[in-house]
């Protein structure tokens, strides 16, 4: 037993102690590391450090890489953050680790009740460049209290995506100009859907889902779910009822393919759907989801008018110690010229007026049979009505989509569905 005892008495004690110290040190490190996160602002070797949070594909990485060269006195630390909204909320609630600059998505209105968390960009001179941007987009970044929290990044102008081969088969026009003239209203669109179904023996449907009709009809409407002045729920008014009625009409007319989102790629690839209205960023979904249909698609101005769905903003945190520099970086990142670069690199559709006429935005696109789709989307972008997005739009809208899918795939009575959607929306917004 002697040897073992000796061993036990001498060296292992030291190693145990070191081990212990290591364990304690790593625990402390782990805890502080997790709690501390990145500090906002601050100086860093004489340079001003700015932390930027964005999501993958939200800002052009190549432009971000140039910031430190363009601004030699700034060290921009750009971090890609997934589920950015919950992390932003967490950091704001903790009042710690809030990034100086952050990307806010089209759901920017959910931050309006907390507008005090942000710098009013107008105090930093935003108004000087106001005339360079689409005015409806500019206004979407302004909270009802009057504070401008979001600087325009990309937009989501909407248009009609259609299969020219299937339209030709149905005897519908195939030229973009003629298509928009023939399908001026949503009613025209649904009627043409009947013609298409008959001509293809019921094998092809005009639209993927009635939720698409409703969603994009709403994206053309200046009135959404809440009144701008009073903040009251107006989703039960006539204009909404009309959009609802038009959407549900597609079911008895049998012009909807009733495609659930999960099956969209297959349905589009297999030619079940001849058209859909979508925002410009749907081009990426289409190209990746249905690559075999390349060359058959065209883009035309949307029935019912032009609209916008999606698009993001850049904001500056109130905790930022160098707001002037942060704003300079934002202004540079979103300059008309750089928006063109971002479009060419990662297809972010611009919000700066000058960008639309830039040759960099226009090209002959093989997926669309050589069409220059920017012509259509740019014209649409300039014609989007001003609309008021409210903090609780997302909450109020969920029951509408819910009920529309029941009408479409379970034959729920549209009247009952409308009533249920109203009750549910009114209940949800109280929470």
């Amino acid at each position: 037993m002697g040897r073992l005892r000796e061993d036990h008495a001498s060296s292992p004690i030291i190693s145990r102690r070191t081990l212990l110290k290591g364990a304690v040190a790593s625990t402390i490190l782990a805890t502080t590391g997790l709690l501390g996160l990145t500090a906002c602002g601050g100086n860093d070797g004489g340079k001003i450090q700015l932390v930027l949070w964005y999501w993958d594909g939200g800002i052009d990485d190549k432009l971000i890489g140039q910031v430190n060269t363009i601004f030699p006195h700034i060290n921009l630390v750009a971090e890609k953050i997934s589920s950015i909204d919950s992390k932003l909320r967490t950091s704001m609630a903790a009042q710690n680790g809030v990034p100086d600059i952050m990307s806010l998505n089209s759901t920017i209105a959910t931050y309006f009740p907390d507008e005090d968390q942000f710098y009013d960009l107008r105090t930093l001179g935003a108004d000087d460049v106001r005339s360079q941007y689409l005015s409806w987009k500019w206004d979407l970044g302004i909270a009802p209290g009057g504070k401008m929290i979001g600087f325009p990044m990309d937009t989501g102008p909407t248009a009609l995506f259609y299969r020219s081969d299937l339209f030709a088969k149905a005897g519908l026009p195939t030229d973009a100009q003629q298509v928009s003239e023939r399908l001026k209203t949503w009613d025209d669109y649904l009627q043409a859907g009947v013609q298409l179904r008959t001509a293809t023996n019921g094998n092809v449907y005009m639209v993927d889902s009635i939720r698409t009709i409703y969603n994009y009809m709403l994206s053309q409407s200046s009135k959404q779910y809440f009144d701008k002045l009073t903040g009251r729920y107006i989703g039960d008014q006539l204009y909404m009822r009309q959009m609802w009625n038009m959407s549900v009409r597609a079911v008895p007319m049998q012009v909807t393919a009733k495609v659930p989102d999960a099956n969209w790629n297959q349905a589009i690839s297999n030619g079940l759907v001849a058209s859909f209205v979508g925002a410009v960023w749907r081009k990426a979904d289409l190209a990746s989801g249905a690559p075999d249909t390349s060359g058959k698609w065209r883009i035309a101005r949307s029935p019912g008018g032009d609209g916008n769905y999606g698009g993001s903003f850049l904001a500056i945190s109130k905790y930022c110690q160098h707001p002037q520099e942060a704003f300079a970086v934002i202004k540079w990142l979103q300059s008309p010229q750089n928006q063109v670069t971002a479009y060419k690199d990662i297809q972010l559709y611009p919000s700066a007026l000058a960008a639309f006429d830039d040759p960099g935005l226009h090209s002959s696109e093989t997926f669309y049979g050589g069409q220059d789709t920017t012509q259509i989307f740019a014209a649409a972008a300039k014609n989007v009505p001003k609309m008021f997005m409210a903090p609780y739009d997302g909450i109020a809208s969920a029951p509408f989509y819910e009920e529309l899918s029941l009408v479409e795939s379970r034959n729920k009575s549209p009247e009952q569905a409308w009533n249920d959607a109203q009750n549910e929306a009114r209940r949800e917004i109280l929470l």
């Binding site: 659930p260 999960a262 099956n263 989509y401 795939s409 929470l431």
Partner: protein
């Protein structure tokens, strides 16, 4: 020195230097702390992490459940109204129903199949390693990846299952849009993922049953079915209890499968998370949706506590059922 002698010696020492004055007592206390400090420190990492990631958030969530909060602004005390909303919310009721329905649809057949599989593998005389590894892999594979693959099987018009049905002239099943097929789809994915894991647990239990019992049963004239129901199941009761409890907790916290299966596909962001008619909405998905999509942080916390109480109650019920059979 034997154990007894050591014990005796320490008793003597303790009696010898019994503290008398307060100073002596303080010194002794310090010495004691010094002596035990390394031990406390060595278990400290767990407790530090538990405090930061377990106790504090749990306590905070109870406080949060009484507030209205969007995650950033000021909290507003609302008393028990969040709980009142939970109990009066039809969607929450539906989520509870879905969760229990899917739990029953998946766990009852799963545990039964797992037990049979375990017996089959256990009877194998040659190496069992391949089967053990093969059955374990699904439970450590990414749920998202599994669900995406299954999602392509369940496709409406072009899914593998419906295509096969078409060949057999069986009408297509609307796995993505009809309420019960939606629930079955989730249950199938869950079963595929956890059957093997539970089979391995059962196998471990089977190996604890002495082979003499089987021999004795055979000599007494039992057939295989009798052995299975009269011998294996009663002897495995503690293991069955474990699998039932753990799959209860697992089933009631089901989240990723419905989220990925019925989640939107670059489409409209506002489409309900639980699929058409919320038929695939589980309680956890409901909680996640309310908290992180609609920013009802206080309400989400209240939902969490209700789900916690339900899970505990249901676990106790399961426990009782299985234990009472023992008597």
């Amino acid at each position: 020195m034997t154990k007894k002698e050591v014990g005796l010696m320490s008793t003597i020492t303790r009696v010898g230097v019994a503290p008398k004055t307060p100073e002596q007592r303080a010194v002794r206390r310090r010495r004691k702390l010094r002596k035990y400090l390394p031990r406390y420190l060595s278990i400290a990492p767990y407790y530090a992490l538990f405090l930061v990631f377990g106790l504090i958030p749990t306590t905070f969530s109870f406080y949060l459940a009484l507030q209205k909060w969007d995650g950033i602004g000021k909290m507003q005390f609302v008393g028990l109204s969040n709980f009142a909303y939970v109990f009066s919310d039809a969607t929450f009721g539906l989520a509870i129903f879905n969760t229990f329905a899917i739990w029953l649809m998946s766990n009852v057949p799963m545990l039964f199949i797992a037990l049979i599989l375990a017996c089959l593998i256990n009877n194998r005389r040659r190496s069992k390693f391949f089967y053990q590894a093969a059955y374990y892999i699904p439970s450590v594979t990414s749920v998202v990846a599994i669900t995406l693959v299954f999602g392509s099987f369940f496709g409406e018009q072009y899914g593998l299952i419906n295509q096969s049905f078409a060949v057999l002239h069986v009408p297509a099943v609307h796995w993505i849009t009809d309420a019960w097929p939606m629930r079955w789809a989730i249950a199938f994915i869950y079963m595929w993922r956890w059957t093997g894991y539970n089979a391995l647990i059962f196998m471990a239990g089977l190996q604890g049953i002495p082979t003499e019992y089987y021999d004795a049963a055979r000599i007494d004239g039992s057939n295989t079915i009798n052995i299975f129901f009269r011998l294996i199941i009663p002897l495995l009761r503690p293991v069955i209890l474990f699998t039932v409890i753990s799959s209860t907790v697992g089933g009631l916290t089901m989240f990723t499968e419905p989220q990925v299966l019925f989640g939107n596909n670059g489409g409209l962001s506002a489409v309900g998370v639980g699929g058409v008619g919320n038929a695939g909405l589980t309680v956890l998905l409901y909680q996640y949706w309310q908290t992180f999509a609609e920013y009802h942080y206080g309400y989400g916390a209240a939902v969490g506590w209700v789900v916690f109480v339900i899970t505990v109650a249901f676990t106790i019920v399961n426990w009782r059922i299985i234990q009472s059979e023992n008597r």
